[in-house]
C-alpha cells in the first residue's frame, strides 16, 4: 500500500475516576495508510471507542499519558484541546455514535451548518454548491437544510451527519458505530456511502469502529482487533478473517459461524471469565486468564510485532 497517512505510537490514554486511573488505552502503536479503511473491532470496553475519541477529542475524563499521533507527517497535539481545534473537521473528523442526536434540536440544520462553517472561518455561501451536491449524493433533498433535526427520520439524520462531518474533506475520518442504530438494509447503504466517500476522495483514510465484524469485513481493507486496552492483532481483512493468529481473534472469528450475521459484542460464551479490570491491569498478556494456550511466558507482556507484511500480532505463541 501507499504512503502512511496516520501513525500512532505508544499511545496511552487513561480515564480519571474517583477509584483511580482506568488504563483504557495502553501503549497502542499502529499505522493507517493513505486510502485505507481500517476496521477496529473488539468487545465493548476494550478501548476501541476510546482510541477513536482520543484521535479527535478527549472528553472531560480522559487523560493523555504519552505517545504520539502523526497525521500526514504532522503531529497531532491531541493533549491540547485548543491546539487540536485547528485540525478537527479539516484534518480529522468523526461520525459519532449518537448521530441521531448530534444536531442541535432547536436550530435549523442549514443554520447549524452555517454557524459551524463560519465559526471555522469557511464561508457558507462558498460551500453551498458542494453541500447540495453531497446531499444529492446521499439522496437528501436540499430542503432538509430548512428543517429541524426532529423533522428528519433516523436514516436521514445519519446521512446528514455523514455529509456534515466530511464536508471539509478531512484526511482521516473516524466512523464510530455508525450503523448500530440502523436496521440491516440501511446499514448496507451507509457502509457503501462510506466507501463512496473514500473513493470520491472526500476522506483519505478511515477508521471504522464497530462491534460488527461482518460490516468491516465488507468495507474494510484491514481490521485491527483490540482487547482490554491493548492491540491484539492487525492484518488485511481477508488474512485476519481466514488466518487469525491471536487466540482471541481466533475465538472472535470462530464464534461467528459464518462471517456476517452475528455480533462479537456479547461475551464470548466459549471462554470462561471476563476481561480484566483496567483499573489495575494484570502484568503480562491481558488475555492470559481466558487464553486456552496460556503458558508461563505470558506473564511477560507480548510485543505487538509484524510477523508478516502488514500483519501484526501481540502473542508469544504467534511469533
Amino acid at each position: 500500500m501507499s504512503a502512511v497517512s496516520l501513525r500512532v505510537e505508544n499511545l496511552r490514554v487513561w480515564y480519571r475516576t474517583l477509584r483511580g486511573d482506568v488504563q483504557a488505552l495502553d501503549d497502542v502503536t499502529f499505522a493507517v495508510a493513505d486510502g485505507e479503511i481500517m476496521g477496529l473491532a473488539g468487545e465493548s470496553g476494550c478501548g476501541k471507542s476510546t482510541l477513536g475519541k482520543s484521535l479527535i477529542r478527549l472528553d472531560g475524563r480522559m487523560r493523555y499519558v504519552d505517545g504520539t499521533v502523526e497525521l500526514d507527517g504532522k503531529e497531532l497535539p491531541i493533549w491540547d484541546t485548543g491546539k487540536m481545534n485547528g485540525f478537527r473537521f479539516r484534518e480529522v473528523s468523526i461520525i459519532p455514535q449518537y448521530a441521531m442526536s448530534a444536531m442541535n434540536p432547536t436550530r435549523k440544520i442549514g443554520k447549524l451548518v452555517e454557524d459551524l462553517l463560519e465559526s471555522r472561518g469557511v464561508g457558507f455561501a462558498g460551500m453551498r454548491a458542494e453541500l447540495d451536491r453531497r446531499l444529492e449524493l446521499v439522496e437528501l433533498s436540499h430542503d432538509v437544510l430548512d428543517r429541524y433535526p426532529i423533522e428528519l427520520s433516523g436514516g436521514m439524520k445519519q446521512r446528514m451527519v455523514m455529509v456534515l462531518s466530511t464536508l471539509l474533506n478531512p484526511s482521516l475520518l473516524i466512523a464510530d458505530e455508525v450503523t448500530s442504530a440502523l436496521d440491516v438494509s440501511t446499514q448496507k447503504a451507509v457502509a457503501e456511502t462510506l466507501v463512496g466517500f473514500r473513493d470520491r476522495g472526500f476522506v483519505k483514510s478511515m477508521i471504522v469502529i464497530t462491534h460488527d465484524v461482518s460490516l468491516v469485513y465488507q468495507i474494510a481493507d484491514s481490521i485491527m482487533v483490540m482487547y482490554a486496552g491493548k492491540l491484539a492483532e492487525k492484518a488485511p481483512t481477508d488474512v485476519l478473517v481466514d488466518a487469525p493468529r491471536h487466540p482471541y481473534t481466533q475465538l472472535l472469528i470462530s464464534s461467528l459461524p459464518e462471517v456476517g450475521v452475528k455480533y462479537a459484542d456479547k461475551r464470548l460464551t466459549g471462554i470462561p471469565g471476563t476481561p480484566p479490570s483496567l483499573l489495575r491491569p494484570p502484568v503480562g498478556c491481558r488475555f492470559r486468564d481466558r487464553c486456552p494456550l496460556a503458558f508461563e511466558k505470558c506473564l511477560e507482556e507480548p510485543p505487538f510485532v509484524e510477523i508478516e507484511p502488514d500483519h501484526f500480532v501481540a502473542c508469544w505463541k504467534a511469533s
Binding site: 480519571r16 475516576t17 474517583l18 472531560g60 475524563r61
Partner: protein
Amino acid sequence: MTVSDQEDLVAVAPAAPVVTAAPVTSMRAGREALYFARRNRKLVAGLTVVLLFLVVAIVGPLLTDHGPNEYVGPPAQRPSSQYWFGTTMFGQDVFAQFTHGLRSTFLVGLLGGGLAAFIGMLIGFTAGYRGGVVDEVLNMITNVVLVIPTLAVLLVIATYLRVRGVIPEAVFIGLFSWPWVARAIRAQTFSLRSRDFVDLARLSGASGRKIILREIAPNMSSYLFMTFILLFGGAVLIAATLDFIGLGPTEGISLGLMMNNAVLWSALPLGMWWWFVPPGLGITVIVGSLYIMNVGLDEVFNPKLREM
C-alpha cells in the same frame, strides 16, 4: 409534552433534577451511588446542616423548662448567657420560640411536602401509565391547579378557619403544591411505560398497580426522593409566608409567626434584631442546604454531572 415537562421540573425549583433515564436498580448501581454519595461535598454538607437543625428542633425544646410563649425573662433583652437569643417585647425566650418554631417548620415540610409528593405521584403515575382519557382528565385538573396561585387559595382558606393549627396548615399547603410533580412524574412514566422490562411485567399479567409500584416507581426512586426534598423546601417557604401575613397557626409558634410578631411589635425601629434575624436565617439555611443537597444527589445519580 414530555420534553417540556422534564424541563419544567428543572425550572420549577432551581435545584430540580433532570432525570437521567438510567435506572438505578441493580445492587451494583446502588452501592456505587452510595460510594459517590459519601464523596460528594455538596450532598454531605447539605445533609449535615439539615440534620443539625433537626437535632436542634428535637433536643432544643427539652433544654428549656418553659413554653415558647411564656413570659420568662425581662422584656427586650439582648442575647445573653441566660437567654441565648435574647427575649421578646414581653420577655419570652427567643431561643425557646426558635427551637419550637423549627419543630413546626420540619413538621410542615414533612407533612406538606409528603402529602404533595403523594398526590403528585398518585396522579402522575396514573395519568402517565393509563394514558388516554384518564390522562386527559387528570392532566386538565393538574393544569388548573397549577395555574391558580397557591397563596391566593391558602389566603382564603386561612381566613375561613376560625382557629388554625400547624397540621391543618401543612395539609392545605400539601393539597395545593403537587401539580408540577404530577406533570413531571407523568412525563417520566410515559417514557418508562414503553420500556421492555415494563412490557415484560405486563405480559406476565401483573396488575397496573403492581407494575407502577414494582417496576416504574423503583426506577425513579432517586428522582422521587429529590422531588420530595424540593416540595419540603417549598412547603416551608409557603408556610412562612402565610404565618408572616398572620394567617399562620393561631396556637403555638412557628418561625414565620416569630417574624410576624417581630414586625407587629416593631422590632425594627427598636433595633431588636435578635427577634427577627434567627427565624428567617433558620428557614433560609434549612431550605438552602436542602437545595444544595439536591444538586449533590443529582450529581450522584447522574454520572454525567460528576466533576472528577
